[in-house]
Every structure is written in C-alpha cells, then in structure tokens.
Amino acid sequence: LAKTTQPISMDSYEGQEVNITCSHNNIATNDYITWYQQFPSQGPRFIIQGYKTKVTNEVASLFIPADRKSSTLSLPRVSLSDTAVYYCLVGAPDFGNEKLTFGTGTRLTIIP
C-alpha cells in the first residue's frame, strides 16, 4: 500500500466547494484510489473511487493527474452535514507493521 499524506484538518464555509488533496508518491500500477468519509461514532463510508483522470458521482468528484502521485477529492457546495473525517486509501489494505491503514485522514469542519 502506498503511504498517503493528507492535511490534518480543514475548515470551510457552507455552500463552498472543498478540495482535499492526498499525496501518494509510491502508488503502484495496479492501485486504485478510494476515499472514505467517517462521521463521529460511525464506521467509514465509501465516497468515491478512481484509477486515473476524473471520476464523478452524486456526492463528489475525484481528480487524478496523469502521474497518479496525488488525488483531489472535491465536494461541491458543502453543508454542515459534510463535517467529518475524510480518508484517502490507495491500493489494498496495508498489513505493514508501522503503517496506518487509512492514514491520518483530514478532519473537515464546515462553518455556518
């Protein structure tokens, strides 16, 4: 699993577009990029997955540059209910000794 790096936290106002970037310099050829959302006291929930270029669903968009060493989750017109921790996961779950499977995540706080 490629180690991922994300900002620890972000704040945004309601109605704005939020972009969260994840760096994964060691991504392997076969690795997909998956983003999960976790609300307090709940399990992570799948948001979006992609391999290259751009993917869009009803919730978010995922932008992946040609070198695939990073990816950006874009949340359009956020609301208070988007306040959560967002995790970037690359490839399969990592069973390595010192690695956090889901990275540190980005704690997004939406301000009214």
Partner: protein
C-alpha cells in the same frame, strides 16, 4: 437493511477477561475484515479473511483471534483483555479478495472499554 452489523455496540469489561465481538454481513461479500481505531482516531487493519486466506497484521497480539463460522460472519475473540485494548473495533466486508479495487463496507463499530 443493515449491510454490516456488529454486536455489541458497547462492551465494558475488566482486565483479564475474555470477550467476543460478532460481525455479520448480508451483502454476499467474500472478504471480511477487522479494524481497530484508537483514541487518536487512527484506523489500523487487524485481519483480513475470506474462505481461502487469513491475513494477520503482524502487530496484532495473538490474544486476538478471528473466527468465521461461515462466509457471512467473522467474529473477533479477545483473550486476557488489557487496558490498551480499549478502542473502537470495526468490522468491514468487500466483494473481492481485498485487492486494489475493492470497496469496503463498514459496520457501526463496537466501543470496547477495559477497566
């Protein structure tokens, strides 16, 4: 309909006890997982299991053991509980064998408190 369910939601117990957490998925998935989320909210995989292979995180003490009576269930048994075992434990499942493209579906979590 609950896709991945866990019981109990809360578990409070004394050090040294043995306890189990149950997990069931009704998605027809082939692979199930157990994760531990500590007080800093770091998620770390403990086990991955399908009918062919059990993968164990080498950092997990052997006091923890997964038991799968069938494809839809993966229970977590913990022997001789320690204070450091206090955490939230999440069960998850995925359709495939846990490879690069598999999406995982998580249960609601079990908050374990060891006194």
């Amino acid at each position: 309909d609950t896709a991945v369910s866990q019981t109990p939601k809360y578990l409070v117990t004394q050090m040294g006890n043995d306890k189990s957490i149950k997990c069931e998925q009704n998605l027809g998935h082939d692979t199930m997982y157990w994760y531990k989320q500590d007080s800093k909210k770091f998620l770390k995989i403990m086990f991955s299991y399908n009918n062919k292979e059990l993968i164990i995180n080498e950092t997990v003490p052997n006091r923890f053991s997964p038991k799968s009576p069938d494809k839809a269930h993966l229970n977590l048994h913990i022997n001789s509980l320690e204070l450091g075992d206090s955490a939230v434990y999440f069960c998850a499942s995925s359709q495939g064998p846990g490879g690069q493209g598999d999406t995982q579906y998580f249960g609601p979590g079990t908050r374990l408190t060891v006194l």
